[in-house]
Symmetry: C3
Subunit: 266 residues, 3 copies
């Protein structure tokens, strides 16, 4: 059954000065005229799959069930990298299998995934350089209009996961690093939620302790805090400010976890 109000969210690295994002919308509206379109953002830094993955993981949970996310951050366009469509819990994702979806897929309770192989749901002519318009947009439109996943290609179980730098363990500490600065100046690290919940840790950044909170609601304006963010990783953030600017942060900056002894606690 078709949805009452199909919704497609677009995330790309095209920017808005050109007409690439508009072409995707044009193709979508040709196939599924009643769809609602929302721009998640078109300003993912060019070909920065990691940034795309974090943006998608942060925003997708706020969208309604059945939303179709059409994602084009695709350094491999024109190569043999697969394109995929997946239902992850109650939402649908279409784009390249290059890790941009892996944060979403990893936390999904239910995941069905196909590799796009059926050209019946693509444009008639496929360019070498703009699969966003020629394949991803029409597939997203067909999905939004109610086309079942299995018609689009062949089932698949594996998917590409983001390669993150490994954590460093010493006798007394666990050493992670800043992976990504988001557009709001929050610092996303490679320290996963599972590590954070495994023990009581003191978080240190730039040789100073950082207060750990369980939600932004606990943070105070202007104060650096550490919390598990929507992507499932430890983030350093200044509510209402930019941690990146304040600390001149950059990818690779060390973030250290030290176990809290009972003496230290409280």
């Amino acid at each position: 059954m078709a949805h009452a109000t199909p919704l497609i969210a677009l995330m790309t690295d095209f920017g808005t000065a050109g007409w690439y994002a508009a072409c995707m919308k044009a193709v979508i509206l040709t196939i599924c005229p009643r769809v609602r379109l929302v721009d998640l953002t078109h300003e993912i830094p060019p070909q920065d799959v990691l940034a795309g993955a974090f943006a998608l993981a942060a925003a997708a949970p706020w969208f309604p069930p059945k939303t179709v996310f059409a994602c084009v951050v695709d350094p491999g366009v024109g190569t043999a990298r697969p394109l995929i469509a997946a239902q992850a819990d109650r939402q649908v994702f279409v784009g390249p299998d290059n890790g941009v979806f892996s944060l979403i897929f990893q936390r999904a309770k239910q995941l069905s995934l196909v590799r796009l192989t059926n050209p019946r749901y693509w444009l008639a002519e496929i360019s070498a350089t703009f699969h966003g318009r020629d394949i991803i947009a029409p597939v997203a439109a067909h999905l939004a209009c109610g086309c079942p996943l299995q018609r689009l290609g062949v089932w698949r179980t594996r998917y590409h996961t983001l390669k993150l730098p490994p954590l460093q363990r010493t006798a007394t500490t666990l050493q992670g690093c800043v992976l990504h600065t988001d557009p709001f100046g929050n610092l996303i690290t490679n320290l996963p939620a599972s590590v954070m919940s495994s023990a009581h840790w003191q978080v240190r950044y730039k040789h100073r302790p950082v207060r750990v909170v369980s939600s932004y609601a606990e943070g105070r304006s202007g104060q650096l805090v550490a919390l598990v963010g929507s992507a499932g990783y430890l983030e350093l953030a200044i509510p209402n400010g930019s941690a990146a600017k304040r600390y001149r942060a950059k990818r690779g900056d060390g973030v250290e976890l030290c176990p809290i002894s009972h003496d230290d606690e409280e």
Copy 2:
């Protein structure tokens, strides 16, 4: 009765590089799937309430009756500053009570205003830093879907008005200043329409007389003119050009009114 085609216009200082505006839209579409969304702009300079107030006052009159404006220019997020919803004449406004609506409210013939106190119309969990998504977006969605204002909170009569620098009076002149340069290079002053209509004035800026017109239609391309703008204040503008660039204008620049004697006139 619900509207035939509910419409929400969004104005924020989030920019479009991140996903904050998209999260607001996601929340709105979850609650009110058939709403139309229009971006007024997301590029209000960060936390510049004055700029937001002028943008809103300029754009709102062109929107249809019943449009709901969801506005997030909110330096006070996380503090006790109230959030409000108001019907001003035939349109509806939701956001912080920090002056961003005061130009709209001052010129409204009818104004009904509530402080948002009923969490039934908010998201279940409220963060300390993103009331735009957690409170303003869902309240706007409920209003667009037909929820009456009085269910959202408690009636209120006062609202925060923009604090503008006072006018300086001398024996023979009235001295105002440039408050704000809009994105088109127009210079908005603190000289209200009421002063302009109280007498015949000569307007002087940077030691030169400026021609006063009653609408842009009287202006000529490239010529500096003065007129009462859509926000209800005297503006200096160059039709088809940027007064800000031409005169290297900045906030605080003096704008002088001298009474026109009968000898001067015509």
Copy 3:
């Protein structure tokens, strides 16, 4: 008969920091509340008619039949330059007759064109500086809602064509130039498709031969290729890269065609 899902695409040079584009949408939604709005782009360089013409020619073919394109790149606003509406094949175009539509009109098989003269379909008050809001937006809205072209004004057959620099012929070569760098770094030239199909040519740029392909699909990532682009002119492009950056290209750069002798060929 009105369309099932009327669609208006907007292309302007307003940028998104101000509220001009939003005002056009507000006017459109007041007249035709059920229309779908798509931003083609608002970042055409200010008053760059050539850039607007190329963007429109590249994007329009991907939009559905009956799409109405409301275009405001209008250095002549406030002068006597005519505004027009046209049906070109199965799509509709509204804007100034300054060449912004000429690439579209030139390739159309069927073209009907009126000069906008009937103020019944405009806003009640017309400013001297914002015809996009006062005339183009309301006319686009009426067209999208099913108003026939002939009600809007008087039939016309001529239209303004883009003035392009002439080609230079020597004894053995044909010399064109780069007209425009698009936002993706592709270089659009003044060499029309008709020239390209008239003989076998070798293309030379910056003293080097460039491989001629018939579609991007033949290009390889990172390799400069020449092809007839969507605007009907020879373009130099690097699939997945920026020819403009790689070659520090600028408007006026020479692009040379030399006939291929039988000895040279394959």
